[in-house]
């Protein structure tokens, strides 16, 4: 048994209380530990990814209880990829945060580590009640991070965020209850073997449970009609937290990909692919709504939040096709949109920071410090987010369009993805030209900004954008890995055998 699999959960779980208790008063020490722990997470994530890329699925039975009875952690290509993506994003965001954001409230680093623990746990677990628990861990930490720094607007948005997610958790438990009542298992691999055996009388309960679960994951993934919490939350959250939240919507997408390819795939009998007819229309509407929101936004933070909703729509359109080729494209777009959204949230904060009094509102105001540098970063981020060449958003959308070529509703998919890309371009161009071009022509300047500017925040935003450049340059090897990942996802028996033993039996 490879004990490193549990490391991405255990490390933050140890570091977080250590920071909260021993380093409460020493921000420098807390920063060192937090950054070191996150860097270590990235390293271990890469080692695990190298391990998983061979194609073997590793399991870790907690407490050494055999699979369907105890909780298992499962490391396959998809979870390894998500671990590395989380660690890379969080390390860069942390570099941004240690430049001042972390002192605007208490316990930033402890909450940050707990958040990472929850996210890593959700990616690794092979048991869906345990998935609920890790969802709660990451949500509880995110409630704290969301209101970090305080302020009336932020706390108000935080209350709304908490309430929406508490209602979501309630639905999660109901869905778990429904599925357990007809299959008698909480283990995802075991569920995959039990779903085909569910009798005709219980199909209604099973399908209700599965669709409710889809609704819960959609809340996390901000899919229409349960997307409404996202713009308020992300636009009001502290910038580094909003950037980290870029991975939180992907946790929902990950859960959808994992559960519905594993347990409700080809082998599921009556319940096969039951997510697809719900997911596809919702994803199409999400894309349209998100990109329309980009056009209508009055502040930059809001604009990026709506772009995140739109990108989740694009991502889930590809997921909803449920073919290996589309899944590979979806995963590529997932990596891209996480990096691009994270970078844009940081750039928004760079802008807001340099415009005291104006913040990130899209208004014409005097030229601010480093306008051309920040403007350049925004330009790159907007290109990536809107899906223009040469950055990875273009490659991602191209892959998705290509995989949708033979789909049933290819016309809708092509039309909406291409049309909304235009909306996004217009929206971002309008925001950017107001903030950076028209403002340059204004007389006067913002004086309040100190002339000695720390370079780290700009470097952090640049690093995330550099990530999208790397993703474009190495699109070949990355897609090769993702093709293998998708192939693994669409051969769920491999996962089941790895968890339950080669017999695939229960005893």
């Amino acid at each position: 048994m490879n004990h490193w699999i549990v490391f991405p959960i255990v490390l933050p779980a140890i570091v977080a209380p250590l920071i909260a208790m021993a380093m409460r008063h020493d921000i420098v020490l807390a920063r060192v530990f937090s950054v070191a722990a996150t860097a270590l997470l990235l390293f271990v994530g890469m080692v695990l990814m190298a391990d998983a890329s061979g194609g073997a699925i590793h399991t870790y039975t907690l407490g050494n209880w055999p699979a369907p009875f105890g909780i298992v952690l499962v490391l396959d290509r998809l979870s390894a990829l998500m671990l590395v993506l989380t660690a890379a994003l969080s390390l860069v965001v942390l570099l941004y945060a240690i430049n001042g954001w972390d002192t605007r409230g208490r316990h930033f680093h402890a909450l940050y580590q707990f958040q990472l623990m929850g996210i890593n746990g959700a990616f690794l677990t092979g048991d869906f009640f345990n998935l609920f628990v890790f969802f709660e861990v990451l949500l509880i930490a995110s409630y704290g991070l969301m209101v970090h720094g305080g302020g009336a607007e932020r706390v108000k948005a935080g209350v709304q965020y908490v309430i929406v997610n508490l209602a979501g958790s309630t639905l999660f438990l109901i869905a778990v209850g429904l599925i357990y009542s007809v299959t008698g298992t909480l283990n995802m691999a075991d569920l995959a073997t039990k779903v085909p055996l569910v009798g005709a009388a219980d199909q209604a309960l099973l399908k209700t449970g599965a669709v409710l679960l889809l609704l819960v994951f959609s809340v996390k993934a901000a899919l229409v009609p349960v997307h409404f919490w996202l713009p308020g939350t992300y636009a009001n959250a502290p910038a580094p937290v909003a950037a980290l939240f870029a991975i939180m919507t992907k946790v929902g997408a990950y859960a959808i990909i994992r559960l519905y390819t594993l347990a409700f795939g080809d082998a599921a009998g009556d319940a096969a692919w039951l997510a697809a007819p719900w997911l596809m229309p919702a994803a199409l509407v999400t894309l349209l709504l998100g990109m329309t929101g980009v056009l209508a936004a009055r502040a930059l933070g809001q604009m990026v939040s709506f772009a995140v909703i739109g990108s989740m729509g694009t991502l889930l359109i590809a997921v909803a096709l449920f073919t290996p080729q589309a899944m590979s494209a979806a995963l590529y777009y997932l990596i891209h949109s996480t990096l691009a959204a994270g970078a844009l949230f940081l750039v928004v904060d760079l802008v807001a920071d340099r415009r005291p009094g104006q913040g990130d509102a899209i208004t014409v105001a005097p030229r601010f410090a480093q306008a051309s540098l920040v403007g350049g970063l925004f330009f790159l981020g907007a290109i990536a987010m809107a899906g223009m060449p040469p950055l990875s958003g273009f490659v991602g959308k191209l892959l998705i369009l290509d995989s949708a070529r033979t789909a049933l509703n290819a016309g809708w998919i092509w039309g909406l993805i291409l049309g909304t890309s235009l909306l996004a371009i217009v929206g971002f161009a309008r925001g950017g030209s107001t903030l950076f071009w028209k403002s340059s022509a204004q007389p006067g300047s913002f004086e309040a900004f100190p002339s000695v500017r720390p370079a780290l925040p700009v470097v952090a935003a640049g690093l995330l954008l550099g990530g999208t450049v790397l993703l474009t340059v190495f699109a070949g090897p990355v897609s090769a890995y993702l093709d293998e990942t998708a192939a693994q996802l669409f051969a769920p028996m491999g996962y089941v055998d790895a968890v339950l033993g080669a017999e695939g039996g229960n005893e």
């Binding site: 409630y143 108000k156 357990y180």
Partner: protein
């Protein structure tokens, strides 16, 4: 007994959803508490309702109560209790900072509290 438990779950959930939609913090907190009670009872009944049976498989072979839902309910109770405490604190903080107990980013005009810009 099934009818009694089912209608209790239904009633709790209905009251919970109604209160949740009031969009004022106090009713919302109560609504979430009622919803979590509904879920706990629901989870409890998902392993089938049995009376006077031990949660272990005995030698007598006269059946058993499924122990797993009880463990899950315990977890769910702990989490929902903690969450209720958290939401109360955040609602109070929000009320003190913004002067209104409306749930939502933009307060409705005509509410008794005046919001700060």
């Amino acid at each position: 007994m099934e009818f009694l438990v089912a209608s209790a779950v239904g009633l709790l959930a209905a009251a919970g959803v109604y209160l949740l939609l009031r969009a004022r913090t106090f009713p919302v907190v109560l609504g979430l508490a009622l919803l979590s009670y509904a879920v706990n009872v629901f989870l409890f009944s998902m392993g089938r309702l049995t009376v006077n049976l031990p949660p272990v498989i005995g030698d007598a072979g006269n059946g058993y109560t499924d122990p797993l839902p009880q463990a899950l309910v315990l977890t769910a109770i702990v989490i929902s209790f903690g969450m209720t405490a958290l939401i109360v604190v955040m609602a109070l903080r929000s009320y003190l900072e913004s002067g209104t107990d409306h749930v939502g980013i933009e307060p409705v005009d005509g509410a008794e509290g005046e919001s700060q810009p």
